[in-house]
């Protein structure tokens, strides 16, 4: 069966809508979904809710979602709400959370 990888860039000013949009694209893939967080310096409550919902939908599709370029402050917030374990993380240059962008 053919696989399609989905990649989306998440913008700081539209985090929740971008994640929701990515969630809708889950139906079209049975491979990986990568959300690029390199432009995100901070997440709010809505973004966390959207990520929770996105993780839930991805798990339903057996797709492991990947967050790329997550700064360590956002990563820590995801750890605090116990969301981090539901994603894979990739840095812009390698694995793991990246440095916060000032």
């Amino acid at each position: 069966m053919a696989t399609t990888a989905v990649e989306l860039i998440v913008d700081q000013n539209r985090i929740a809508p971008a994640i929701q949009a990515a969630g809708e694209k889950l139906d079209g893939t049975d491979s990986s979904v990568v959300l690029d967080f390199s432009g995100v310096s901070r997440v709010d409550t809505n973004a966390i809710r959207a990520l929770e919902e996105f993780a839930r939908r991805a798990e339903g599709k057996a797709v492991k979602p990947v967050l790329r370029g997550v700064n360590v402050d956002v990563y820590k917030a995801l750890k605090l709400v116990k969301l981090a374990s539901r994603f894979s993380f990739a840095s812009e240059t390698g694995d793991g959370p990246s440095q916060k962008k000032k």
């Binding site: 966390i48 402050d73 820590k76 917030a77 995801l78």
Partner: protein
């Protein structure tokens, strides 16, 4: 804040949650989940972000101070609206004044001189219980603390204060949200039950309980297994001492006790008044609107405002006006009465009014003396108010200090109102709060006024410190042939020469004597040629005292010089306890026992060594044998170092071959161990390296050609130079092994060192099984330093491993050339005898302080192995063949 809600909260908070329905649990879970997300989002905020929100909510609280005060009074029917306005303003304005410049995000404090930094970590979700007595002010205060520290709070108001609390939370939440706080940062339970509280206290995502409530709530919080901030019950004793400014004191007491109708648990409960001012004080109370009860009225109060069953105050009286209480119990008072004063004659169940009374009823006690007054205050303090608050009015600093010493209270308020004084920042510089920590006396973990720092996990970032090191040596060392003549420059009225019989016999004493100034009376004290005994030392001290000596010359080997050092110590400081001074220590600067600095006599110590090994002429060490106790006492302190060292080779020219070899190897061991010591420094290294070089070059010559003046001279210098190194860097495991083995089998110290040395070199050069903590060193360097020694000696080798191998081989060759036995077996100790001894030897060696500076921490099993290697005498070739010389 009001801890004494015990009377209103008779129902224990249940510890089990079986009665909670799944729907209710899900409802409560949603509260926590929302708070958890808010806390997570909040964790990303900067100091500027939180400071902006704090300022906004403080202003909102101030604006609504009156509205919230009115709500609180209407709902709770407690207290005074005007006073509650003040409370709300203190809870916002004064709290803000304290926190506004405090850093609570990221690095919050720095201590550059200690290389320490403190950083803030938010707590997360706080479950916060609110009291009935100060409901809205407590909400305002806690919201400010929470925002300032980036925490989310779930509030649980007292059921009878729910509406006003809920409104206060709403005002703060909406303002915070408007200024960027995370959604869900505050929430307030409604229609909640004690089961709800119990469930939330144990919720896995609640990080901290802040229980401002009665003892049952606090107990439940502490029993939940969660970290908790609790408050304790109060019963504030007040001492009105005869030197107090009565006009100010009595107004202060009335202000405090009537403030919000006495609902603050830090308010005055029993005033103990000195006899001399008792009548005047009561008159002043009466003049200012208090009603002083007669005996009959006091009995009436006791029966009515205190529950005779429990001994606690009656809930109905809490926060009520004095006139309302009087009317309710049928007491006739003036309409403007502010306070009811009830004289009592003791404290405890027989004196019901001596307990906490959160209403304007004040007990007074007439004390006949300061001691009686303090005793009664202690009684009141122990009658339900431990750890909370106490007040004293006095101008006598000594009495104030005594009061502070005997009273167990987190807040001891002096010459100011108890209730408002304890809140902090109004009458004093206490940290402002609406939660009084009452310490263990009140069943709490802190006596602090709870504030922002209790809402933070404070992380300490400790950078490695570069401890100061030292290089301390005697200030005068004279060396080379005839250096002894330098003694002439030291003035003396009476000189005692400490020596042994052999040295006197061969003329060394006369040589020294000729160099002592002619005006000095000289007395020669001959002692046995062995490690000095306590008895010998004390006889020497008697001699020093008898002659009132001002100069001591120690002429001899290490034992004689050690004896002279200890004689000097006891002569100058007769009270010095040698046993205590020998107490073990790890770091010289932190040692428990300090050497005496006050001296009743003073004498210069000149050390003239007659062997080339111990280096005792410059070391701060001395060994003493205590035959009565059957042990050796090692003393170590720089005050023991001789004042002058004379390193004159003429005194070693006649040293026997065996002694030359033994002392020479002792010197080499000192240098090699100091070189790799964890206390080694560039200063000690330079001396250690030079000593090693001199030993390898000159010891064989001095051994084989005893009359070679240059070799003797250089070996004499080498011993002194090596001692300069190990006096400051110490020795290592080789000495620990040699001390244990030498003492057990009566083997000379140098010889014992020689038996261990090649094995210890190989041991220290290998990868340690256990590294020794060494703040002075960067990484493990022993093998590299041995390689440096090999280079210095020109031993060749390309790799570190080869160089270490060559150094061990060179050492073995030197030992062979000096005709040392190369194994313990070779000196005639049977395997069975040694086997029996090894367990004890290992224990003794492990207890020896010498190895504490060794680069590798010796395990017991390794010590045993080293002893067996020394017994069997396995050499470098076997070790290399076995692949056991692998460097790290």
């Amino acid at each position: 804040m009001i801890a004494s809600e015990a009377v209103r909260e008779r129902v224990e908070i249940p510890l089990a949650t079986e009665n909670l329905t799944p729907e209710r649990a899900a409802y409560l879970d949603r509260f926590v989940a929302q708070a958890r997300t808010a806390a997570a989002v909040f964790s990303q905020f900067t100091q500027d972000d939180v400071d902006r929100i704090v300022k906004a909510i403080v202003l909102a609280g101030l604006e609504q101070a009156q509205y919230l005060a009115r709500l609180a009074v209407e709902e709770t029917k407690l207290g005074v609206m005007e006073d509650k306005v003040i409370k709300n303003m203190v809870a916002t304005e004064f709290a803000y004044d304290y926190v506004k410049d405090k850093r609570t995000v990221g690095v919050i404090r720095e201590f550059p001189e200690r290389n320490l930094m403190e950083l803030a970590e938010p707590i997360g979700v706080i479950f916060s219980m609110l009291p009935i007595t100060n409901p809205t002010s407590t909400v305002l205060f806690k919201c400010i603390m929470a925002i300032k520290t980036r925490n989310a709070v779930i509030f649980s108001p007292h059921p009878k204060a729910w509406r006003c609390c809920s409104e206060a939370v709403k005002i703060m939440y909406e303002t915070a949200l408007k200024h960027g706080a995370p959604e869900g940062v505050f929430s307030c339970l409604e229609s909640h039950t004690l089961q709800d509280n119990a469930y939330l206290m144990r919720h896995k995502d609640v990080a901290l309980i802040d229980a401002t409530g009665g003892p049952n709530a606090v107990k439940a919080a502490y029993s939940s297994g969660k970290p908790a901030l609790g408050v304790g019950p109060g019963n504030t004793p007040v001492y009105l001492e005869k030197t107090a400014d009565l006009n100010t004191s009595i107004v202060d007491i009335i202000i405090s006790k009537t403030f919000d109708n006495g609902t603050i648990c830090a308010s005055e409960q029993t005033v103990v008044i000195d006899d001399e001012i008792y009548e005047v004080a009561l008159k002043k109370f009466a003049d200012l609107g208090a009603h002083v009860c007669n005996e009959k009225e006091t009995r009436l109060l006791e029966r009515t405002v205190i529950d005779p069953q429990t001994g606690f105050m009656q809930p109905l009286a809490i926060g009520q006006k004095a006139t309302d209480i009087a009317r309710f119990i049928g007491l006739s008072v003036e309409p403007n009465t502010k306070l009811l004063i009830a004289p009592i004659k003791g404290v405890g169940r027989d004196h019901p009014l001596s307990v906490e009374k959160l209403f304007p009823v004040l007990a007074v006690y007439r004390a006949r003396s300061v001691e009686e007054a303090l005793r009664v205050c202690v009684d009141v303090n122990h009658a339900g108010g431990l750890g909370h608050t106490a007040v004293i009015f006095s101008r006598n600093d000594e009495v104030i200090r005594r009061f502070g010493e005997v009273i167990n209270a987190g807040r001891i308020i002096v010459n100011s109102p108890g209730a408002i004084g304890a809140l902090g920042a109004v009458y004093n510089d206490l940290v402002p709060t609406f939660s009084f920590g009452c310490g263990t006396g009140g069943g709490n973990s802190t006596t602090d006024n709870v504030n922002v720092y209790h809402y933070l996990n404070i992380k300490r970032l400790a950078r490695r410190t570069q401890n100061h090191m030292w290089f301390r040596v005697p200030n005068q060392i004279y060396f080379n042939m005839n250096a002894v003549e330098n003694i002439r420059q030291f003035r003396s009225r009476c000189t005692i020469v400490v020596t042994n019989a052999a040295l006197e016999r061969i003329g060394h004493v006369d040589t020294v004597r000729r160099c002592i100034v002619p005006e000095a009376h000289v007395h020669v004290l001959v002692i046995p040629d062995a490690e000095p005994e306590v008895k010998v030392v004390m006889q020497g001290v008697e001699t020093l005292n008898f002659y009132k000596a001002d100069q001591i010359i120690g002429l001899g080997g290490g034992s004689v010089i050690d004896a002279a050092k200890i004689m000097k110590l006891k002569y100058e400081s007769p009270d010095a306890d040698l046993e205590e001074l020998a107490a073990p220590f790890l770091d010289l600067r932190k040692r428990v026992v300090q050497y005496p600095t006050e001296k009743v006599n003073r004498a210069r110590l000149i050390a003239v060594p007659t062997t080339s090994g111990t280096g005792s002429e410059v070391t701060p060490f001395a060994v003493l044998t205590d035959k009565e106790r059957g042990c050796k006492v090692t003393l170590a302190d720089y005050s023991l170092s001789p004042d002058v060292a004379i390193v004159d080779p003429q005194f070693v020219m006649s040293m026997p071959k065996g002694l030359t070899a033994d002392t020479g190897i002792d010197c080499l061991t000192h240098a090699l161990e100091a070189g790799v010591s964890n206390y080694a420094s560039p200063y000690t290294d330079s001396n250690a390296m030079q000593a090693i070089r001199l030993v390898f070059k000159y010891l064989p010559i001095a051994y084989e050609q005893p009359h070679d003046e240059e070799a003797r001279s250089m070996m004499h210098n080498a011993a002194c130079i090596a001692a300069l190194a190990f006096s400051n860097a110490s020795v290592g495991v080789n000495h620990a092994l040699a001390h244990a083995f030498g003492a057990r089998f009566g083997v000379a110290h140098g010889r014992a060192n020689a038996l261990m040395l090649p094995h210890v070199l190989a041991y220290n050069a290998a990868v340690p099984a256990k590294f020794m903590p060494s703040p002075y060193q960067q990484g493990y360097v022993a093998h590299k330093k041995y390689a440096t020694v090999a280079d210095l000696l020109g031993l060749g080798g390309k790799t570190v491993e080869e160089k270490v191998h060559n150094l061990i081989a060179a050492t073995e060759n030197l030992l062979d050339r000096l005709e040392f036995p190369r194994s313990i077996a070779e000196i005639g100790i049977s395997k069975e005898e040694f086997q029996r001894a090894v367990p004890d030897l290992a224990k003794i060696a492990f207890d020896d302080p010498s190895w504490r500076s060794n680069p590798r921490m010796p395990l017991m099993s390794e010590i045993v192995e080293l002893f067996w290697k020394a017994y069997e005498g396995r050499g470098i070739r076997e070790l290399a063949a076995a692949g056991q010389l692998r460097a790290p």
